[in-house]
Symmetry: C2
Subunit: 178 residues, 2 copies
């Protein structure tokens, strides 16, 4: 390996500086995060990391992620239209203020900068006073590629990465159905 080694080293330093210890599991989770190009759930991180250390435990993953969150190394967000679990974003450390677009069909997430948001914040403060410390902006829609497909093939159900299961609320049945 050697990918992003600087990043891991930096995190390890911050860790030690706050009285923490670098363990095998933490290094593994960090390496797993460093390889992410997406926004995985805790479970996904767990599955990926576990391939290299089968006795890794999910609660260790959670604890490590919370610790990284406190350190400002990962961000978290929840997206609509899927199970209400958290997704973790290893990109915050590199680009503190970025926002998210999520494709309704293929679930791809695009990160984008939004410098214009500052104007919106200022607008808000002008009207309502107070201060703004952070902002979350999420766009939902169709990514370019899915848009093309829909335009070509029509709006059929095309959802390769759909996460299925409870909490999806397909039709919240209210009792005996017809």
């Amino acid at each position: 390996m050697g990918y992003n080694m600087d990043w891991i080293t930096q995190v390890a330093e911050r860790l030690r500086a706050t009285g923490g210890r670098m363990t095998t599991q933490r290094r593994l989770i960090l390496e797993t995060l460093a390889q992410c190009t997406d926004h995985p759930t805790a479970e996904e991180i767990y599955q990926r990391a576990r391939q290299r250390a089968p006795d890794l435990n999910l609660s260790t993953v959670y604890r490590t992620l919370r610790w990284l969150e406190d350190l400002g190394v990962v961000g978290t967000q929840r997206f609509e239209g899927e199970r209400p679990q958290e997704r973790f974003d290893p990109a915050v450390s590199a680009q503190p203020e970025h926002h998210h677009f999520r494709c309704r069909l293929c679930n791809t997430i695009i990160e984008f900068p939004a410098p214009l948001l500052e104007v919106l914040k200022q607008d808000f403060i002008t009207h309502y006073g107070g201060t703004i410390e952070s902002a979350s902006l999420i766009f939902y829609g169709l990514c370019e590629s899915c848009l093309q497909k829909v335009e070509t093939y029509g709006p059929l159900s095309f959802n390769p990465n759909a996460i299925t299961g409870p909490h999806e609320r397909p039709s919240h049945s209210t009792g005996r159905a017809s």
Copy 2:
């Protein structure tokens, strides 16, 4: 009563138009929602409504809220820094595109319009293509009133409406603490 009767009647019509029935419980929940000036959780709606009908059940509240959500009558959002439960927003029907500011201290939520967001959407599409169907924008910070208090009395812990309990993650202990 008589407050917002139009609104309830309108919802009832939409309901019947889709093969649903207007029941005592649904009317009660609608009336409770009509009186909301905040963004209550399902549990809060349940507690308020239950004062008039003690045998109302929480699952009925959930089912009714989901149905209203599908009808576009209530919106839902989750805010950071509190238990990860949904909050319901009866104001969507009146102002389809509004956004939220949440005060970190008193938890007040301010709804605001953001017409400038259209520019941001256009910006995004210019860079990445695709389409945007909806957007969620949340500002976190201090409302004017809390800002004043902090400026006057200093940044002590002032949190009258704080929701306390698990899921708050005060310090995610990783084992025996010092």
